[in-house]
């Protein structure tokens, strides 16, 4: 269905001053109203990078800023496509709303939260857009089925693949914003790339976004930036250590609840999720302020595991790590036994974390037609996959690099008596 209604414009353009894009421009009433909804404003209270602030102290930026950034990139790219007559204008508002709302379902410390409670931020994004929310009411005022279309774009099941590609592909508005934004706030200089140059060399071909061969080096720059950000920031071992502890805190709190533990500071906002009964309304009440309040308070709980883990997180006394090699995997049961004998519960104090746990992904050329690779538009009109033309990209994508680490509390191990047989066994197995 082509939407032919014209969307109301604001009397005067609104702007947000933004460190990455300089200004974010809002000219549409719908976009302005969506930004003002409680569901969207909540994103101000959820950090974009979760626990990364414990490694890079500048990483305090929020999902609110990132969502505005993605909207702004989408807006500018659409303008470029319209100028070249490569865009169906009836899709513009759907695309802009999808860009703005693509992360609205994220919760506090999403990654850990989802691991422990089995939630899925993408499902919550769909629920917020389609459920009993102010966002849904605003979208449906634009026409019946409009909210569903926005949800479909975000869910990657919208029939117009070009619109989907703008928000979700190997070079999309989402990735372009978070790479630059995260590099800016962490202070990491190797995360920068020439985004405007990439826009200039973007073309549409059938239902996909491709890049002129002459702009290959800008795309290479982006791929290198993604690579560096992944290994230097997103997959930083200290950040992962904090993530492991955070996960264990939530896990422990859930276990204690089910055991009937009498909390000094009862986690009322979390009880429904412990019971598996959480509604959308309950979910929307959660943000980092709520979670961190309980982490701070639980340092005083009688349960030594919960209080210790919370102390570690709040005071940055994080787990150390070793590489989780096949020989260590072979000894993992013995290691867990040694921990238990030493009075250190391995269920909470011994945890593996792998690259598969990261919500970020490296560029890989393609996987039997599963993921669209980055295509270069050659001068003769043919399409060539990026790594086939670029030595730089070819070398990093051809190299498989995975990373699995085993996290443990080194301080607890070395607090054991020096000649304790358990300490010696642990040290021997871990090679420390």
């Amino acid at each position: 269905m082509v939407l032919t209604r014209s969307f109301q414009k604001l009397n005067e353009e609104k702007v947000f001053k933004d460190p990455v894009h300089r200004y974010i421009h809002v000219r549409d009433r719908l976009i302005w109203d969506l930004i003002g909804t409680p569901e969207f404003q909540r994103l101000r209270r959820i950090r974009q990078l979760g626990t990364t602030f414990l490694t890079f102290h500048g990483a305090e930026h929020s999902r609110f800023g990132h969502s505005l950034g993605v909207y702004e990139i989408a807006r500018r790219v659409i303008d470029i496509f319209k100028y070249r007559n490569h865009w169906d204008d009836s899709e513009t508002m759907i695309a802009l709303c999808a860009a703005l709302l693509h992360d609205v379902g994220h919760g506090p410390f999403s990654h850990s939260f989802e691991k422990v409670f089995g939630t899925n931020h993408e499902e919550y994004t769909q629920k917020i857009i389609l459920g009993d929310t102010e966002i849904h009411r605003l979208l449906e005022e634009q026409g019946e089925g409009f909210a569903g279309k926005v949800a479909d774009v975000i869910g990657k099941t919208y029939p117009n693949r070009l619109v989907v590609s703008l928000i979700s592909s190997q070079i999309d508005a989402d990735r372009m914003d978070y790479l630059l934004r995260d590099a800016y706030f962490t202070g990491v200089s190797y995360g920068h790339f020439d985004m405007e140059r990439i826009w200039r060399v973007m073309r549409t071909q059938d239902d996909q976004i491709v890049f002129k061969f002459s702009g290959m080096h800008a795309v290479e720059d982006y791929i290198m930036s993604r690579y560096q950000m992944y290994w230097q920031v997103y997959f930083h071992p200290v950040t992962r250590s904090a993530e492991v502890i955070l996960t264990q805190i939530l896990h422990r709190a859930k276990v204690l609840y089910h055991e009937g533990f009498h909390f000094k500071y009862a986690p009322h906002p979390l009880i429904k999720i412990f019971k598996g009964e959480m509604t959308l309304k309950d979910y929307l009440k959660l943000d980092e302020s709520v979670i961190l309040y309980f982490f701070q308070a639980w340092q005083e709980e009688k349960d030594p595991i919960l209080s210790d883990l919370c102390f570690r997180f709040m005071n940055r006394r994080l787990f150390k790590y070793v590489e989780f090699t096949p020989s260590l995997i072979e000894s993992k049961d013995q290691l867990a036994g040694a921990f238990r004998d030493a009075g250190i519960d391995p269920d909470y104090y011994l945890e593996a974390d792998s690259s598969s746990n990261s919500p970020y992904d490296l560029y890989r050329p393609g996987e039997e037609g599963e993921r669209q690779p980055i295509q270069l538009l050659m001068p003769d009109g043919t399409l060539h996959e990026l790594s086939q033309e670029s030595d730089v990209v070819g070398s990093i994508t051809g190299m498989r690099r995975t990373d699995v680490k085993l996290y443990y509390p080194k301080d607890r191990v070395f607090d054991l008596p020096e000649h304790s047989p358990y300490r010696e066994r642990i040290q021997e197995i871990l090679g420390i």
């Binding site: 869910g155 099941t157 096949p326 049961d333 792998s354 598969s356 996987e367 039997e368 995975t402």
Partner: protein
Amino acid sequence: MLEDHAKIAALIDQTGGISGRKKLQKAVYIFQRLGYPFQQIFHFHFSGPYSEELSVQLEELCDFGFLIEDREDRNEEEETCFYRLSEAGEGFLTHYKNVLPTVRRLTEQVMNQNTWFLEAVAILLYFDYLPRIEAIEKAKALNNESVGENLEHVLAFIDELHMLQSIEMPVSQ
């Protein structure tokens, strides 16, 4: 620790090996929908449900030496890989008893299908929260040829899987 990796290794062990990452992706998705304890999150990609997590876990298993990846050249343009458990992988699995249910008929039914067919099955299962007619329309609207050309057979197969699931896995995992 590494339970998700162990489940993938166990599946490959049970089936004697899997040809192609795409087949693995679609099979794991279908098994997950049938109640097998796979935890990976899937999103809709170019050819239906796909999990980045699963893809990386497969690579990690290969890097650990627990899986052997044999490259097969189907033709000049297409290359795929056959994944089988190594001896080290068999040792790895000894630490994870009963990580995956042994549900022979259901597993065989899925693994005996070709990749293209499993793609169609996975796509329709992805949309099964919709009434069937809407799910089919949605899949076709995404221009998926595999769904359009074999629809009757795909639908019958899904019904058969659910029937086998109710017999072989009566309690959800």
